[in-house]
């Protein structure tokens, strides 16, 4: 593999390995559909595309920074108390995000309600800190964090897109379904706005994803 000859000299910023860190979570290592982490928030805040977008950006920010901080501190953190250190770092970053959201986009912050706080217990973040940032240099950790958060964001946006389109007939708050369709008798599916449809939408996304990539099929 190409990893052997790059290990000697200084690795370029976007080496093949680092690119994979960024791109794998978008597809075959997707944190939601494959690793099953961080499901809670995917479902609750995807009624509209706008809230999904804000949430995705918040998670990318928190995760990238948390991974860098833990990775920088990885040699000084005593292993016995690492979980509480990780929680403290994440919680501080989430407080920052929460205050920023409250200051600049108050209405979205109200809609997200407790789910901003719940980024703290989003298992993707803890999972990546444990599995990657504790053993790797800051730059790869940053890429890994951003990549995983982006993989999470992609699913979030897909679910948000379909739920808002089918449920309210709008995207980002703008009506997109042309009026003549309503005249012909088309109606918004109010069911898509209700909580259970989020689960079923994610179920279908997983179905499509695994159908296209047969290696992921659960054989147990």
């Amino acid at each position: 593999m190409s990893e052997n000859n790059t290990s000697k000299q200084k690795e370029p910023l976007f080496s093949h390995r680092n690119q994979r860190l960024l791109s794998n979570p978008l597809g075959k290592d997707n944190p939601i559909t494959v690793q099953v982490l961080g499901i809670c928030s995917v479902l609750a805040i995807t009624v509209q595309l706008r809230t999904s977008l804000v949430m995705a950006i918040s998670v990318v920010a928190v995760m990238g920074l948390a991974n860098v901080i833990i990775s920088v501190l990885r040699k000084t953190i005593p292993p016995r108390i690492r979980i509480i250190v990780q929680l403290t770092v994440i919680a501080s970053l989430v407080i920052l995000v929460d205050q920023l959201l409250k200051a600049y986009i108050y209405d979205v912050s109200r809609q997200l309600s407790v789910f901003v706080g719940l980024i703290i217990t989003n298992c993707i973040i803890m999972g990546r800190l444990e599995a990657f940032a504790l053993n790797n240099k800051p730059w790869p950790s940053f890429l890994d964090g951003v990549g995983n958060a982006a993989g999470y964001g992609v699913v979030l946006l897909t679910v948000g897109f379909f739920r808002e389109l089918l449920g309210s007939g709008t995207l980002l708050g703008y009506p997109v379904i042309p009026n003549f369709l309503y005249d012909l008798g088309y109606e918004n599916n109010g069911f898509m706005i209700l909580p259970p449809m989020a689960l079923i939408t994610v179920g279908i996304i997983i179905w499509v994803h695994r159908h296209r990539d047969r290696n992921l099929v659960d054989i147990s």
């Binding site: 609750a44 703290i120 449809m197 689960l199 079923i200 179905w207 047969r214």
Partner: protein, 205 residues
């Protein structure tokens, strides 16, 4: 007293942690392969929610909220520490989980063995932090209401996880399309269960 019962029942059926707010989904999906383990996790969640929600209620009302420090004297009445909520709640939860684990280990080794590995996992279960954050949003009148909300949420989670585990044990023998096996079908079943639980909506208590 009626209020307490009504809050309890609402928390179990109408505002169910799993089906209405999707909290605790990670452990819900990961630990629901067999009924036995899911019962263990369910009890641990009831236990920890029943303890942390009232404690965080006290924290919120006597230390963190706007004007909550007034009992220290008039000088402190204007202090608002609510921006510290997240970090304090998660610290309390982590500490309580540790404490509960030690107490159970001392008092009842059998219960400790049943709950086993699930107790430490609970510190990062979103249902626990979510319970405390919802408690903060609902503005309960006193600590008994907060406690009954915490217990009710725990029982709701217990019902959900034991239900899905029972279905997953059966579905292993069914011909599910290959890409849907495991995770996919679990999501769809949870959705259907959620639709079932929606029928409790609109019940006035």
């Amino acid at each position: 007293m009626e209020d307490l019962v009504s809050i309890f029942v609402r928390a179990i059926f109408i505002d169910n942690m799993v089906f209405a707010y999707f909290l605790g989904m990670c452990s819900y999906l990961a630990v629901s392969r067999t009924v036995n383990t899911s019962v263990g996790l369910g009890f641990a969640v009831i236990f920890v929610l029943g303890i942390t929600v009232p404690i965080n209620y006290l924290l919120e009302n006597y230390i963190l909220g706007r004007g909550a420090l007034a009992w220290l004297g008039p000088r402190f009445a204007s202090i608002d520490l609510s921006f510290l909520t997240f970090i304090m709640f998660i610290a309390i939860i982590a500490a309580m989980v540790q404490l509960v684990e030690m107490i159970i280990e001392k008092v009842s080794p059998t219960l400790y063995n049943t709950l086993g590995i699930f107790l430490p996992l609970i510190a990062v279960n979103c249902a626990i932090l979510g319970g405390s954050l919802f408690m903060q949003e609902r503005n309960f009148m006193n600590i008994a209401e907060a406690a009954s909300f915490g217990l009710g949420s725990g029982v709701g989670f217990f019902l959900a996880i034991v239900g899905i585990a029972a279905i997953r044990e059966k579905i292993r023998y069914s011909a599910v399309p290959a890409p849907l096996r495991g995770l996919g079908i679990t999501f769809i079943i949870t959705g259907l269960m959620g639709i079932g639980f929606m029928s409790f909506m609109g019940i006035e208590l």
